[in-house]
């Protein structure tokens, strides 16, 4: 399951490279300009990705038991 750590690369791609493809004001998403909506969406997804990595990381279980 250690491979799941590589998910952490995805936020980097989405937030560093992604904007090159979505640098536009429209359509508005929930009232936000498209680029801003993209960044906000990826902040939410990044948090989710970190939660998944946390959940399967054996280091956290060991520490809570001790």
């Amino acid at each position: 399951m250690r491979g799941i750590r590589w998910l952490a690369v995805v936020p980097y791609l989405a937030l560093l490279v992604g904007p090159f493809f979505v640098n536009r004001a429209t359509p508005l998403i929930l009232g936000l300009p498209f680029l801003l909506a993209w960044i906000v969406a990826w902040i939410l997804i990044s948090s989710l990705i970190m939660a998944v990595i946390y959940a399967v990381d054996p280091a956290n279980r060991e520490e809570q038991e001790t």
Binding site: N23, A25, I39, I43, I49, M50, Y54, A59
Partner: protein, 488 residues
């Protein structure tokens, strides 16, 4: 006397009371004072780390950036998120090493990893040169906030003096515990106020977010996307990357990792902190709302956008509440910076020349240094001219130069030597200074492609740093190898 003043006075008093109460039941030795006895759970570590995101710079500067420049402000949201993702992997080993070796400061980490007190002195100096202007920025922001929110009843000079005395007093007494306790008040207030402002102002003036952004695009086409030149996509990507790497290199941020009671606390925060960043989104909404309502602010005055719009919109008592929140955004980060700077001077400069000093002496000296550092910062806030502004712009780039040396030291076999580490940091810091002071940037080199011209010039310093670090380290190892073989 106006409706705003009672709230501003109450905030100052609350900070002082919380700051002093935080001491209760603790024997304030160096370990308690500076790293909270390494016993903080997820919530306090969260508050300390979150405390460093919401400084006056984000409160005033974040809204000001959106007001003045539009979309380039988005980069602030992105770099924090990437820094937190990295923190999940990078911070637990740092925390473990700090705990096992009973480290107090960021500089200690380099001293131990590279077995070199001299490198520690270098790191401490870089840290202090970056920290003092950062403290000045907080004091400046505090002065502006109190002056505007108090409708001019209290001058910014008086506010700065009072703020500095309060923060110095509670840092001396309670250390990092004082920062953590005042953070509770600050984060509660900022959460409520910023979300309210960010939702209310667009609805009040435009009828909603969609209408607001449509109106802005009509009035200023392209304002809500990154421009083709200048602060373009290339600027955005290079700046997000650089600032994301430098994020945890701030010594007070680095130091707050030490307060955690275990590594799980740090990993949990890597999940929570990106979400918490979204408060910045509401700060941006305030700035965007202001750009058509209180137009005309230029230069450094764009930072006044949030308060100008608030004064225009609300009754004085509510402006006072916003001002009270603003005071906390200055005092909490200010307290951490103050404590970190004092610890660095006592623990890494004084102890370097006085190796026999014990923890009790270092602790006493650190506490005595708190009012002195505060005084220096007040002096620069009131008298500082161009120099301090220049230092401020360099601060972030300075601390980022510690990143390569730190990351290499986390590897099982560190290829960097202490000489390489020192040379890399010196070259990086010198490059930052030369570039900032001479105003050189890629735009001056007309033959470069547009994409490269827009890159953040900080990349050059970091690259030079890294190359020198590797070359000097390899050279030292190559020259040491035959000598070692001979000795064996």
């Amino acid at each position: 006397m106006n409706g705003a003043l009672p709230f501003i006075a109450a905030a100052a008093l609350l900070a002082l009371v919380l700051g002093f109460l935080a001491r209760r039941g603790k024997d304030m030795n160096l370990e308690q004072w500076t790293v909270g006895g390494r016993g903080f759970g997820a919530i306090f570590v969260f508050l300390l780390l979150a405390g460093e995101i919401y400084t006056t710079f984000t409160f005033l500067g974040g809204s000001g950036y959106a007001y003045g420049k539009g979309a380039p402000a988005y980069y602030i949201l992105a770099y924090g998120t990437l820094a937190y993702v990295l923190s999940y992997f990078m911070l637990p080993p740092i925390w473990r090493y700090a705990k096992d070796n009973r480290l107090y400061s960021q500089s200690d980490f380099f001293v131990r990893k590279y077995d070199s007190p001299a490198l520690g002195v270098l790191v401490a100096l870089v840290d202090i040169v970056a920290l003092v202007p950062y403290l000045v920025l907080q004091f400046k922001g505090l002065g502006i906030i109190v002056e505007i929110a108090g409708y001019g009843a209290i001058s910014s000079t008086v506010a700065i003096w009072i703020g500095a005395i309060i923060v110095a007093a509670y840092v001396m007494v309670s250390g990092v515990h004082g920062s953590a306790w005042t953070s509770v008040a600050k984060d509660t207030m900022i959460l409520a106020i910023v979300i309210f402002l960010g939702l209310y102002l667009p609805i009040h003036y435009y009828g909603g977010l969609a209408q607001m952004f449509t109106a802005i695009e009509q009035a200023k086409p392209g304002f809500t996307v990154l421009p083709p030149r200048g602060e373009s996509l290339w600027w955005y990507a290079s700046t997000v990357l650089l600032t994301g790497l430098g994020f945890f290199m701030w010594p007070h941020t680095f130091g707050s990792i030490y307060t955690a009671k275990n590594a799980t606390v740090i990993r949990k925060n890597a999940i929570l902190l990106p979400l918490y960043q979204l408060i910045l989104l509401f700060v941006f909404f305030v700035g965007f709302a202001a750009c058509l309502q209180v137009p005309g602010l230029t230069g450094s005055n764009i930072d006044l956008a949030l308060f100008k719009l608030s004064v225009k919109t609300f009754d004085p008592w509510f402006v006072g509440v916003i001002g009270a929140t603003g005071i906390f955004t200055a005092l909490v980060p200010g307290s951490m910076i103050l404590m970190t700077a004092a610890t660095l001077i006592a623990n890494n400069l004084y102890r370097a020349v006085n190796p026999s000093a014990d923890d009790r002496q270092v602790s006493n000296i650190a506490k005595l240094l708190v009012p002195l550092v505060a005084l220096v910062a007040v002096f620069f806030t009131l008298k500082g001219g161009e120099t301090i502004v220049a230092l401020l712009l360099m601060g972030y780039s300075f601390v980022t130069q510690l990143f390569p040396v730190l990351v290499l030291s986390l590897a099982h076999r560190n290829i960097a030597t202490r000489e390489g580490a020192a040379a890399g940091i010196i070259v990086g810091v010198a490059t930052v200074a030369v570039v900032s002071l001479t105003g050189v940037n890629f735009h001056k080199l007309a033959w470069l492609p547009a994409e490269i011209q827009d890159l953040n010039i900080g990349i050059v310093a970091l690259a030079a740093n890294f190359v020198v670090l590797i070359v000097v380290s390899l050279a030292m190892r190559a020259s040491a190898a035959p000598a070692q073989a001979a000795a064996e």
